[in-house]
């Protein structure tokens, strides 16, 4: 695979505060890579350094094998979709999209063609003479994407581009963006704090915590085999149990793999429960019930999802036992 971006020994300080301690990362041509982490973890700073909007304190950034560490943003062949779109309010949709082409002195004829293409791609043809304020959030979002894509960037950087949209629209746009990326084959670097978004869209998810890469794997692997407690709890929900002979690691078990049985049920199947406890709270979640069980031994809270025949079966204060299949337990670092 062809290398598109390489971050080598990057560090970043803001006013003597170390935001990013040494970072190394390679991103390949045509990949959809997501930087996922809580707010303030440094993921947006990483993106902005690739765009050139921030300069790393140390280290080098290569774009398509060219050292761009100190190249001004307007000289880099990457484009960014900003979190709040940053559309130019005094320009129409078409003028916004044309802006980048004018800057690069693209001939008039080609401008028209590329604008027409990208308007069609983002389904904005009807809205081309509107001003940003006259459009809905989703439409503005599409303009922001069109304005970036029309420049045929080598890499498209997206900074929480769907953050301001409501839930339904976000779902639709996720799908649209993913399809768009696959059709165009452009490298996408996507920043989000929404784990579901990261899992559904990306080829590769990079979990960032405190400026460090916590885990760098394809979505399924990230979900099934989290490496650390942070990764295991940041993506989806998880339960953690101490390991008897290993102080540096924990056993993580997803709530859907926790089996619950009534302690007084004489005909119950399955092994002897690993832990016993009391149901403290039950949340109705539509397709499943979410049980919060207080364990007798450690007083820890365990979360379990109950589907199908176990759905709507329990009540608060029920005495229960829990167990899981050993292959569902994943060891993670603390």
């Amino acid at each position: 695979m062809k290398e598109m971006i390489r971050l080598m020994g990057i560090t970043k300080e803001f006013e003597d505060e170390l935001i990013i301690p040494t970072l190394n990362l390679t991103i390949y041509d045509g990949e959809f890579v997501t930087l996922l982490g809580p707010s303030g973890c440094g993921k947006t700073t990483m993106l902005r350094m690739i765009a050139g909007l921030e300069t790393p304190t140390q280290g080098h950034i290569f774009l398509d094998n060219e050292d761009v560490t100190h190249l001004a943003p307007y000289k880099r062949n990457v484009n960014m979709v900003f979190q709040h779109y940053a559309l130019f309010p005094h320009m129409t949709v078409e003028e916004n999209i044309r802006f980048g082409l004018l800057m690069k002195k693209v001939p008039r004829k080609e401008q028209q063609k590329r604008i027409a293409d990208v308007l069609q791609l983002t389904q904005l043809e009807e809205l081309r003479y509107r001003k940003p304020q006259q459009m809905s959030g989703g439409q503005q979002q599409r303009v922001a994407i069109a304005r970036a894509l029309v420049n045929n960037p080598k890499v498209l950087l997206l900074d929480e581009p769907l953050g301001a949209l409501d839930y339904k629209l976000r779902k639709t746009m996720q799908l649209e963006l993913r399809n768009l990326q696959q059709r165009l084959g452009i490298t996408f670097i996507y920043v989000t704090h929404d784990q579901e978004e990261a899992l559904t869209m990306s080829d590769r998810v990079i979990i960032v915590n405190g400026g460090r890469i916590e885990q760098d794997d394809p979505p399924a692997r990230i979900y099934q085999y989290p490496r650390s407690r942070f990764a295991a709890s940041f993506i989806g929900e998880n339960n953690f149990f101490p390991l008897p002979d290993d102080d540096s690691r924990l056993l993580s078990v997803r709530p859907q793999f926790i089996n619950v049985c009534a302690l007084d049920d004489k005909e119950r199947k399955g092994p002897e429960p690993f832990h016993t406890g009391t149901i403290e709270q039950i949340l109705f979640c539509g397709t499943f019930d979410k049980l919060f069980i207080r364990l007798d031994d450690s007083r820890d809270m365990v979360t379990a999802y109950q589907y199908y025949e176990d759905y709507r079966k329990w009540s608060v204060e029920d005495r229960v036992g829990i167990w899981w299949n050993t292959q569902d337990g994943v060891q993670v670092t603390k």
Binding site: A72, M80, H84, F88, M103, M135
Partner: protein, 286 residues
């Protein structure tokens, strides 16, 4: 809610008594005539307005307009960089200090500030003394009592009225737009030309209106720094009231200036509304 409305009554009363009523009197007087000794007699006629059309007054009016226009241009040329520096270049913690520096002259009476220019520019003034002392010139330069001196005084006095609205519009501008422009390939200068300048034009327009209207009525500066040679509408009006004792004519000239200012303010709001047209549409969508 209805009780709260009573709270505006004092302000309304104040404005009515000290603003609306005097204005009404000026309007009434402008249609009156006067006796040989300057007494106002209420014989209605348009004489005062027609007198404005005499070449002498039209010339002064044109000169006043020209001076106001040039003053506006200069305050813009000098004020924009000042506002830009304060809003965009100074670190956040120094911005407040910058704005206070711009406003400090307001703490001193305008009359006194105008006289200090006289002290600086007159024949035995600061500049001439300095130049003479070091032998740059043989005899004092005539820096005072000409149109350039008037212009200098007006630009100096009105500069803050240009700086403040421009500063506000720069301050309110979304700075991320400049990042977006840079990301799309615009050099800093191009980004200024294509993004910053168009987006701060409302501030420029507001500043220009303030400066232009203030220049139209200015009489202190030409009086003190222009000597006898330069006369603006403001001086003519002042003369009608204080020296010539022709209140009706002075009132008519005041009304003409006020109407001109009013027209410009209306045009400004129309332009602003046209620009904001999109915003209202957005509200309808939401």
């Amino acid at each position: 809610m209805r009780r709260g409305k009573l709270l505006v009554l004092p302000a309304m009363g104040w404005l009515g008594l000290f603003f609306a009523l005097p204005l009404l009197i000026v309007v009434v007087v402008s249609f009156a005539s006067r006796t040989a000794y300057g007494q106002v007699v209420f014989q209605w006629n348009l004489e005062n307005y027609l007198r404005f059309l005499e070449p002498l007054y039209l010339k002064i009016f044109a000169f006043t307009l020209g001076t106001a226009f040039i003053t506006t241009l200069w305050t813009f040329a000098m004020g924009y960089p000042v506002a830009y520096t304060i809003a965009m270049i100074l670190p956040k913690k120094w911005q407040q200090a910058g704005i206070i520096l711009v406003m400090i002259p307001f703490w001193i009476n305008f009359l006194i500030r105008s006289y200090s220019w006289v002290i600086i520019l007159r024949a035995q003034g600061l500049v001439n003394t300095f130049l003479l002392h070091f032998g740059f010139i043989e005899k004092p330069l005539g820096l005072l009592y000409n149109n350039t001196a008037v212009l200098l005084g007006m630009v100096y006095g009105l500069l803050p009225f240009m700086v403040l609205p421009i500063y506000v519009s720069l301050e309110q501008m979304d700075k991320r737009l400049l990042e977006a422009a840079s990301d799309l390939g615009a050099s800093p200068f191009t980004a200024f030309r294509k993004i910053t300048l168009p987006l701060t034009l409302p501030g420029v327009a507001a500043g220009s209106i303030l400066v232009f209207i203030s220049s139209l009525g200015m009489f202190v500066v030409p009086d003190i720094m222009g000597g006898a040679k330069s006369s603006l509408m403001g001086n003519v009006i002042q003369n009608q009231f204080l020296a010539a004792r022709d209140w009706p004519f002075g009132s008519a000239l005041s009304i003409i200036l006020a109407l001109l200012s009013l027209v410009m303010i209306i045009l400004y709001y129309k332009a602003l509304e046209a620009q904001k047209g999109g915003k209202q549409h957005e509200e309808k969508l939401a």
